[in-house]
Every structure is written in structure tokens, then in C-alpha cells.
């Protein structure tokens, strides 16, 4: 049992701020509790003697053995809410649901109040929901500590929402559709308990089969990934994360006051956390229903059984769009279908048992295909005909699903004729849709979750690195008046074992010549200035300079940089051995620290066209070896690395290790907020980091 089990399964609930005043939140909560809660409800209000038939107490400390109150629901006005929470803490109540609004979401005074609330909650170690929450619900105990107007029906879905209004909407909607819930929580401002806490709680709750969430931001993405990764082995998590678009992000920022964070980080982070991310409310509940009602498939192969040619084709298209594949039947299956189906039927997948099919023909066809070991799941698509009763068909599907133990989704393409069939299917947990694409989408989600639950998580490797040296390099930069560092910080990469070409940053033509002579062949020379971002655009890079011309080139580079920006800080010129671009592939390896998820690693095709081609992939660091390897395979141009068109393949192992080493570097130093190695040249003999740019958060250092 989790830490929050008494929050959702209390015996005594006190409403601080209970009132009879018509239209008030305090009344709504009290009457909702009285309507269905199995346990004891206590009313607290110094200004009333009785509320809705309950005797009223002046303060929480006045009730009998106040320490045994399991949950205090706070509905008093904001200026006395923190006192009410403190008193609850003092008498020993552990769970507090703060419905009162008027905290951080309302501006300065509210923010101060929320800070106070947080301090009190931390002092008494409270499990605090909200503030600015609609409340909590839990169906087994009939607990409805919300001011919504609908109590959930019982079920095995637990649901959290960052919007209270959305909870009421969902409940209203669910009431019509046989969607039942275990626990529901409106997260409010997430001052103490946030999405991660509830995911952890429900992960341990045997009565919760599916976790749903509507989120606008995630407080601590790294922690969320850690928690969710554990939970999703057994319990699927389906999330709507709104604010995907720029306009949506702005709306979310106004609503929560938090930066929405980058969409790419969410996509990667939620993927790594093992959650199923959906984009619409419809998908949220489609996935929830099939995950709670159907077993997981053991493969991707789907069989389609239909009485209608056209819808059969539509269904096949939907399969093509998904990660599922059409099952290829065995010879025995064909044989049996040939025997049992009419000649006009199509016995190949999709199986079209034609318009005159009665329920028995569906039964026979389904039984045959579900017995085929190449079939992992099925979708039944039926249009209403005079010879088919949907009620009968529903019975057939339920029976066949039970016998086979394989997941099935149905598409009964009708309106009123679906009637009783819908109820039979719902009762058995078999989803039913009008649109075949939704049925296939749901089965696809089921398969995706199967893959997630089987994921083996490997811990990121730790390399032997020179952390002190890296810290010195970063600190030397903080003495300058900039947050930007360039190749002058190459030693940072050396310290973490990321190979760099031979070379040095020098500040006189003589030194430049000496370095070039040391290298002994043609060199690359680059201006080094934190103020000049695109060096090649201003002629700040010269490639293939013979040692004899190094002095003059030094002069040229400095003059060009000065002409471009007269007040630029010029640290000198970098003289570097030439990278082998003939056999090498230019890649980019970088990191951008996301406000929610932390370090987001980026890998892709590099060089000067990186912004045009945008062939990149991201992961939240730290990454393990398989994750780093996945990044290489993810990009469109992966074949280039593997030796397309007769080229020698690059040293992938070295590339993977470099990704891991950078992952360790950016995890070790939160002060690095942005870093790009572009290009990271990969050759058959290894990799070399040719150029570096990074941004530091000086205050973090």
C-alpha cells in the first residue's frame, strides 16, 4: 500500500469551512460527501452550529480524537486557509486537500501565501493536494470530496488532472459511457503532491489498472521519468500533455505560470518514461478502456473479420498507418475458412464474410482466425444488415474473446441498431467504435504498451573521467564577462575522454606557427571569440593552411573578426590538425537543458546544413548504452554511418561511447545549459570533436 492510501481510503473526513450557504463550495463538498461516503463526515465552522444535519465544530482540534481524522478538506477563504492547514498538521492529520483558491495562480499575495503553505506542509510532512484543487474522489469508499456535480462510477482507471474543470467534464461524459474510475484527483497548483506522487501511488495500488493524466506541465521531469519507468512495467500510464503548439504553450503558461517546456523534450521524456502520450481526450479514454478491458497481445499481427468490403478496406488502411501488421494465415486456417465460408467470401486477411453473414458465420470465422498462431489480435467490423443482429454478434465476440484470450476491438458501424450490443460488449470490456481507425488505434496502443512493459532498463554507464579538470575549465570561463564558451573550452571534452584533434588556442602569430609546425602538416585555423557565433560566415575559418602561411592567416582572421564586430572579445586563434572529412561523416552531438526534463541530448547529421536538414533525435540524459545506440539508429541518415554506397562504415562503438560520455558530462555539471559539438566527425577509426560551443549558467556553477 502506498503512502497515499489513506488519502483515497479514509474513514473520517473533516470539511474545514463546511457551510449551508447556497451555491458555496463548502456546501457542495459537504453534501457530496454526505451523499455517498461510507465513513464519518465532520463539519468545521466556528460560525455555524449545524451544517446539513451535521453538528458543527469550532475548530479541527475540537472534534473527538482529531488525530484519527484521515483527511481534512480545506475550503475556507484564502486568508485563513494556511492557519487551517497548520491546525490540521498540529493535531496530527496527515492528508490535507486544499480546495481553496487564491494562491500562486492569483499573483503576488497568493504566491506569498503559497510559500507559507508549502512551509507548513513541509513542517508537518503533510500529503497535501492543491491548493486550487477541485478535490479528490475514490469510488470504493464512495468518497466524493469535490465540488463537482457528479460522482464517478466504480472502475479500475485512476485519473489525475491539472485542470479541475476537465475533471467535471470527464465525469459528466463518463457517466454516459460506462467508464468507471478508482481514484480521481484534481492536482491544482501542485504545491506539494504532483503527478509523480500519484503515479507512484497508483503503481502500487492493486485496484488501479490504468493511470490517466491530463497535464499542462511536469514539475520535475527527471523524477517523473524515474517513477513512471518503474510503474509502467505493470500499470499503463496514458497522458494528455497540452500546450503542444506555440499558442497552446502560451495559453498553458498563462494558466499555470510555468514555462511549458519544449515539445521535443516532452516527447522524448514521456517516451523514455514509458507513458503512452495521446493528443486528444477521445484517445485518452479509448486507450484507457482497451488497456483496462483487454489482455495484452503477444505480437503485432492483426486479423480483420468483416461483413462489409469497404469498411474492411478502411480498416486495412488504418492497420497500414499503425505499427501493427496484417496477419498472414497458416495453410490450415485457409483450408478451414475455405470449407466454412461461402465461395464469394474473401478468406484472405481482411476476411470478408460478405453481407449475408449471420452471427454464426462471424462465430465460425472468428474461431478459425483466432486459433491461428500467426494471429495476435482481431478487429471485428460489421455493418447492419437484415440477417445480422448486433446483439447476437456482441455475444459471439465476447465468447470468442474469452475462449481465445486474445484482445479484440469491434467496429459496429451503426447508430441506434448498435443498441443492446454496446452494453454486452462494454460489460465484457471489449471496446466498440463507429470508426474502424479508432479500433485499430486502440489495439495499436495495447501493443505499444506491451512493448513498454517488456522494456529492460539498463543503468547508464559511468566512465572514469577527470571531473576536477572539467570544473576548472568551466570556472575559468566564469571569470570572463560572458556565458558563452567556444573552442577555448576544448579541454572540457578531453577531461571527459571525448577525443579532440591535436591543436591549441594561441594569441600571437608566432605561437600559431609553432603549433602548426608541431602538427607538421596543413592545419585548420579559426578565430576564437565568444561574441562571434557563426565563424565561417564571417571568414573566421581557414582550412588547409600550410605551416608557412600560418602567420599571415593569423593576421587575416583577426582583421576579419574585428571588421565584423569591432568590440568583439577575441581570445585568439585556434590552430588544429585537419579532420579527415574524406572518409568521415560530420555529425552533431549536443545538449539543451529543458526546464522540466533536464539535459536533453541531441544527435544528428552535422555540419553547416544541420539547421536545414534537421535530421536529429533527442533523449533525456543520462542515457544508457542501448539508448545511445538507439539515437544513432533513429536518424534518417543512419545508413551514412553504416557505410552507404560502398563507403567504409564509421566506428559506431566510438560514437555511442561519445554520446554516453557527453551524457555523463552534462549530468555531472548542471551549470552547462547548452552545448554543441558540431561537427563531431566520425570516421572508420573513431570520432573527433572538432568544434565546441556551450552556454553556462554562472549562478549554478
Amino acid at each position: 500500500m502506498g503512502r497515499l492510501s489513506t488519502l483515497f481510503g479514509p474513514e473520517r473526513v473533516a470539511v474545514i469551512g463546511a457551510t449551508e450557504s447556497e451555491g458555496s463550495v463548502g456546501r457542495a463538498i459537504t453534501s457530496n460527501l454526505l451523499a455517498s461516503f461510507d465513513g464519518e463526515v465532520l463539519a468545521i465552522n466556528p460560525n455555524a452550529d449545524e451544517v446539513l444535519g451535521l453538528p458543527c465544530h469550532d475548530g479541527i482540534e475540537e472534534v473527538d480524537s482529531p488525530g484519527t481524522v484521515d483527511v481534512a478538506v480545506v475550503v475556507v477563504p484564502p486568508h485563513i486557509a494556511v492557519d487551517a492547514i497548520r491546525q490540521s498538521g498540529e493535531v496530527g492529520i496527515e492528508n490535507v486537500v486544499v480546495v481553496t483558491a487564491g494562491f500562486g495562480e492569483t499573483g503576488s499575495d497568493g504566491a506569498a501565501r503559497e510559500r507559507e503553505l508549502r512551509e507548513v506542509a513541509e513542517e508537518y510532512d503533510l500529503n497535501l493536494v492543491g491548493p486550487n484543487s477541485l478535490g479528490v474522489m475514490s469510488t470504493p469508499a464512495g468518497l466524493n470530496a469535490t465540488f463537482g456535480n457528479e460522482m464517478a462510477t466504480e472502475g479500475d482507471i485512476s485519473f489525475m488532472s491539472q485542470s479541475g474543470a476537465f475533471v467535471t467534464a470527464v465525469l459528466d461524459w463518463a457517466a454516459e459511457r460506462d467508464v468507471g474510475f478508482k481514484d480521481i484527483v484534481s492536482l491544482g497548483n501542485k504545491a506539494i503532491l504532483d503527478e509523480g506522487d500519484f503515479v507512484a501511488e497508483w503503481g502500487e495500488d492493486p485496484e488501479t489498472d490504468v493511470i490517466l493524466g491530463y497535464l499542462e506541465d511536469i514539475d520535475d521531469g527527471e523524477e517523473f521519468i524515474r517513477t513512471a519507468r518503474e510503474v509502467t512495467r505493470d500499470t499503463p500510464i496514458v497522458l494528455v500533455k497540452s500546450g503542444r503548439t506555440d499558442a497552446g504553450a502560451s495559453a498553458a503558461a498563462s494558466h499555470t505560470g510555468a514555462m511549458a517546456g519544449s515539445e521535443r523534450a516532452y516527447e522524448a521524456g514521456l517516451e523514455q518514461a514509458g507513458t503512452l502520450r495521446v493528443e486528444s481526450v477521445q484517445e485518452l479514454f479509448d486507450y484507457a478502456q482497451i488497456l483496462s478491458g483487454q489482455p495484452l497481445p503477444d505480437g503485432e499481427e492483426i486479423a480483420i473479420v468483416t461483413n462489409a468490403g469497404g469498411p474492411g478496406v478502411m480498416t486495412t488502411d488504418a492497420v497500414g498507418d499503425s505499427d501493427l501488421s496484417l496477419a498472414e494465415f497458416s495453410d490450415e486456417t485457409f483450408e478451414e475458412l475455405r470449407e466454412t465460408m461461402p465461395d464469394a467470401a474473401n478468406i484472405y486477411n481482411p476476411v470478408d464474410i460478405i453481407g449475408d453473414a449471420p452471427g454464426e458465420r462471424f462465430e465460425s470465422a472468428l474461431e478459425t482466425v483466432l486459433a491461428d498462431e500467426n494471429v495476435s489480435m482481431a478487429v471485428v467490423v460489421a455493418c447492419p444488415t437484415a440477417v445480422l443482429s448486433f446483439e447476437e454478434l456482441a455475444d459471439v465476440v465476447v465468447e470468442q474473446q474469452r475462449q481465445s484470450g486474445l484482445p479484440i476491438a469491434t467496429t459496429l458501424m451503426g447508430g441506434k441498431s448498435v443498441g443492446a450490443g454496446r452494453e454486452i460488449l462494454a460489460e465484457a470490456g471489449i471496446p466498440q467504435y463507429f470508426d474502424p481507425a479508432r479500433a485499430v488505434g486502440s489495439l495499436d496502443a495495447l501493443t505499444e504498451y506491451r512493448n513498454i512493459s517488456e522494456r529492460e532498463f539498463q543503468a547508464p554507464a559511468t566512465f572514469d573521467v577527470d571531473r576536477d579538470r572539467a570544473r576548472e575549465v568551466l570556472q575559468s570561463a566564469s571569470r570572463r564577462d560572458t556565458n558563452r564558451l567556444g573552442v577555448e573550452a576544448m579541454a572540457l571534452l578531453d577531461a571527459y575522454g571525448i577525443p579532440t584533434p591535436q591543436g591549441a588556442v594561441v594569441d600571437s602569430p608566432g605561437d600559431a606557427e609553432a603549433v602548426a609546425e608541431d602538427i607538421g602538416e596543413e592545419v585548420v585555423m579559426k578565430i576564437v571569440s565568444p561574441d562571434i557565433l557563426h565563424k565561417s560566415d564571417i571568414g573566421g575559418v581557414e582550412v588547409g593552411v600550410p605551416p608557412a602561411e600560418v602567420r599571415d592567416t593569423y593576421e587575416d582572421l583577426v582583421v576579419r573578426a574585428r571588421n565584423y564586430q569591432s568590440d568583439a572579445t577575441i581570445l585568439g586563434v585556434q590552430v588544429q590538425e585537419m579532420a579527415d572529412l574524406e572518409t568521415g561523416t560530420e555529425t552533431i552531438l549536443g545538449m539543451n537543458r529543458d526546464p522540466q526534463f533536464g539535459p536533453l541530448l541531441l544527435f544528428g547529421l552535422g555540419g553547416i546544413f544541420v539547421e536545414v536538414l534537421e535530421d536529429t533525435t533527442v533523449r533525456v540524459a543520462p542515457v544508457s548504452e542501448p539508448e545511445a545506440r538507439d539515437m544513432l539508429d533513429d536518424i534518417e541518415s543512419a545508413p551514412l554511418l553504416k557505410g552507404a554506397r560502398g563507403r567504409e562504415p564509421v566506428d559506431e562503438a566510438a560514437l555511442v561511447e561519445t554520446v554516453q560520455r557527453l551524457s555523463q558530462l552534462v549530468t555531472d555539471f548542471p551549470a552547462i545549459v547548452e552545448l554543441d559539438i558540431n561537427p563531431l566527425v566520425a570516421t572508420p577509426d573513431g570520432v573527433k570533436a572538432v568544434d565546441l560551443q556551450l552556454t553556462l549558467d554562472q549562478e549554478e556553477l
Binding site: 494562491f103 500562486g104 495562480e105 492569483t106 499573483g107 503576488s108 499575495d109 497568493g110 504566491a111 506569498a112 503559497e114 510559500r115 506555440d246 504553450a249 502560451s250 495559453a251 503558461a253 498563462s254 494558466h255 499555470t256 505560470g257 510555468a258 514555462m259 511549458a260 517546456g261 519544449s262 571569470r479 570572463r480 564577462d481 560572458t482 556565458n483 558563452r484 574585428r562 569591432s566 568590440d567 572579445t569 581570445l571 539543451n592 526546464p595 545549459v673 547548452e674 552556454t695 549558467d697 554562472q698 549562478e699 549554478e700
Partner: protein
């Protein structure tokens, strides 16, 4: 005999006022009777009553002088004055006489007289009263305050030295960044001295002098401070404009330091991004649009003040640029801090001829 030191500079906003008043304070502390004058008022404020330069007002207050403002600042170098001078309606000789007369009055009982120059060495040429002309008229020694960025700046210094001739007592570098300091010390100062330009020293750039507090910025702009708990004592030195989407904006904001972020009040995603970047010390919202209250709450939590101004972003940027660029000597603390820096880096006694 009164010793007169005129403090001039090659560019405006380099710390003339703070240095002049700090030197005056140092002389006072050494027991001297000190006077102050700024013949050409250029930093004009017309907020209260007559248009006046604010520097003499500050000097008067900090040095506890009872001289009349119009004596301390005989020329109000306003746009009107300039137009009239160009049209030939101002008489240079008469003006010069007025300056000298006022100076004589002010310096009558003083051991040390500090005269603050205006903007740069060219200012005042239209009435034959550049700082060099004034030094000549008042028989003043000249302290030339310069910034330093690159060795090429030496050209300008040599030209200025040439112009000031024998009146140049020496150069004082101010606001030198740590990265430029070595080069200045090792290469440039010896070079200047080799060319007969004496150098008194180089003062490092320090944050509390380089910037302006957010509170002062709000006052200068007439902006409302919407947050109530977030501290407005933090200094900002530059501004950045939030004109792009949230994540692009975050990259930009992270690259800057000690900055105020200017954007429209309706851009929640840009505002919240700014609150994530530690280099952004304040948000200045334009157009009179109040931010979403949740954003305001977030700002309090992050201890980053939000200022609101009615003007549009374009106009606001110009005004912020003005405030950040023009000098920032506003209070006793600035002058005290400057005095400490001078004490550490410069032989103030010999600079002010105090021992004589």
C-alpha cells in the same frame, strides 16, 4: 591657491560623475574645502520644475554644498540652446564670461575645485566651450576618464591627449573587464606612458557600478513594479527583447547575464521562459498589458520582479537603452563604492595634489 581639476572623458556614461564626486569626497575627507561645478548641463531632467542636469543636484546633496544650482551649472546644454547657438543667437564670449564668473564665485573659498565635463571632448564646440576650452579658461588640470576594450582604443587616447596638451594631468581607465585588464596593464598603459601620456590607473568593472538597480530602472522609466516581494535591489546591465517563441527565447535568455527582459505583457510563454533563465533579473512588460496572475505568482516564487510600462516595446527599448547607457550615479552608495575603488587602484592624494 585653488587647485582645479576638470574631469572629462572620451565617451559618455563612463563614470565621470561618480569619479568626480568621489574625488571631491576624498578631498573633503582630507580636510579640504571643496567646490563642484558642471559648466554644461547635458543630462537634462525636467521632471520637477526647471530643466536641469541631475548631476549637480546629486553633487550638491552628497557634498553638502550650498551653492545655487544655476551657479553650478551656468549653461543648460538643451536642444533649444543648441539650436540658438547654431543660429548665432548665443554669444560665445558672453557665455565664457558667465562660466568664469560663476567659477570664481564658487571657488573663492575652496582649496580644491572639481569641474565635471560633459558627454565627450567635442561637446560644446559650437560655442567654443569644449572641455579643453573650459580647462583653459579656468586654468584647470584635466583628468581624462576612458573605457578600454581593445588596443585600438589607444588612437583615441593619443588624439585626446594631443587636444588637451599640457593641461592633461593623466588618464584614468574605468570599467575595465577582467579579460581586458591584463592586456591594458601589460601592453597599453606602458605604451601610453612611453608616448608621454601619464596614466593614473585602471579601475575594474564592478557590478554594482556597471548596472542600475531594478528599482532605479523602474523609477527612471516610470514603470510600475507589479511584484511585491521579489527584490528590486538587484543590478541589471543590459536588456534583451523577448520577441520569439518560448524555447528559442530560453536559449537567448540563457546566453545573457544581469539583464532585464523586455516583452509585451501578453506574451506568457516568453515571460515564463525568462523566469527560467538565471541571467534575467527582471521582466519589463510593455503596452500596459498586465501579465497572467499565475505568471506573477511564479515571478514572486522565483524572486524576479516584474515591471509594467504603458509605452509600446519599441519606445520602451529606446528608453531602457538611454537609462542603461547614460551614467548611473544615483546615490551615495555608488559614490562610496567608487571612492573605495579609487582608494584601491589610484594614488588619490597625488591626483588631487592634496599633500601640497
Amino acid at each position: 591657491m585653488t587647485d582645479t581639476l576638470l574631469v572629462t572623458s572620451t565617451e559618455e556614461g563612463i563614470g565621470k560623475t561618480a569619479i568626480t564626486i568621489a574625488l571631491a569626497k576624498a578631498a573633503q575627507e582630507a580636510g579640504k574645502d571643496v567646490g563642484y561645478m558642471k559648466p554644461k548641463g547635458t543630462r537634462l531632467q525636467s521632471a520637477v520644475g526647471k530643466t536641469r542636469d541631475e548631476d549637480p543636484m546629486l553633487a550638491r546633496e552628497l557634498l553638502d554644498l550650498d551653492a545655487e544650482m544655476h551657479e553650478m551649472e551656468p549653461i543648460v546644454y538643451s536642444p533649444t540652446f543648441i539650436s540658438e547657438a547654431v543660429r548665432g543667437r548665443e554669444d560665445p564670449d558672453e557665455i565664457r564670461e558667465r562660466v568664469v564668473e560663476n567659477f570664481d564665485d564658487l571657488s573663492a573659498d575652496c582649496d580644491t575645485m572639481l569641474v565635471e565635463g560633459s558627454d565627450n571632448l567635442e561637446t560644446g564646440g559650437i560655442v567654443d566651450l569644449t572641455d579643453a576650452d573650459i580647462a583653459e579658461a579656468l586654468d584647470a588640470r584635466v583628468l581624462l576618464v576612458c573605457g578600454y576594450a581593445t588596443p585600438g582604443d589607444a588612437d583615441e587616447m593619443l588624439a585626446a591627449a594631443d587636444r588637451l596638451g599640457d593641461r592633461l594631468a593623466g588618464v584614468l581607465f574605468n570599467g575595465v573587464t577582467e579579460s581586458a585588464m591584463d592586456e591594458l596593464d601589460n601592453d597599453v598603459i606602458p605604451f601610453l606612458e612611453g608616448h608621454g601620456v601619464p596614466v593614473f590607473g585602471a579601475l575594474p568593472r564592478v557590478q554594482d557600478l556597471a548596472g542600475i538597480t531594478i528599482g532605479d530602472l523602474a523609477r527612471s522609466l516610470g514603470a510600475d513594479v507589479l511584484t511585491s516581494d521579489a527584490s528590486t535591489d538587484v543590478h541589471v546591465e543590459r536588456f534583451t527583447v523577448g520577441a520569439m517563441g518560448g524555447n528559442k527565447a530560453l536559449d537567448q535568455f540563457r546566453r545573457t547575464r544581469d539583464a532585464v527582459m523586455v516583452s509585451g505583457g501578453d506574451r506568457s510563454e516568453v515571460q515564463t521562459a525568462a523566469l527560467e533563465a538565471s541571467g534575467i533579473k527582471a521582466l519589463l512588460l510593455t503596452g500596459g498589458f498586465r501579465p497572467a496572475s499565475a505568471v506573477l505568482g511564479r515571478a514572486e516564487k522565483k524572486n524576479v520582479p516584474i515591471l509594467l510600462i504603458q509605452s509600446d516595446t519599441r519606445t520602451t527599448i529606446d528608453r531602457v537603452e538611454d537609462v542603461l547607457h547614460s551614467g548611473r550615479t544615483r546615490d551615495t552608495e555608488t559614490v562610496t563604492r567608487m571612492q573605495e575603488l579609487l582608494g584601491d587602484g589610484v594614488d588619490v592624494h597625488s591626483l588631487l595634489h592634496l599633500s601640497e
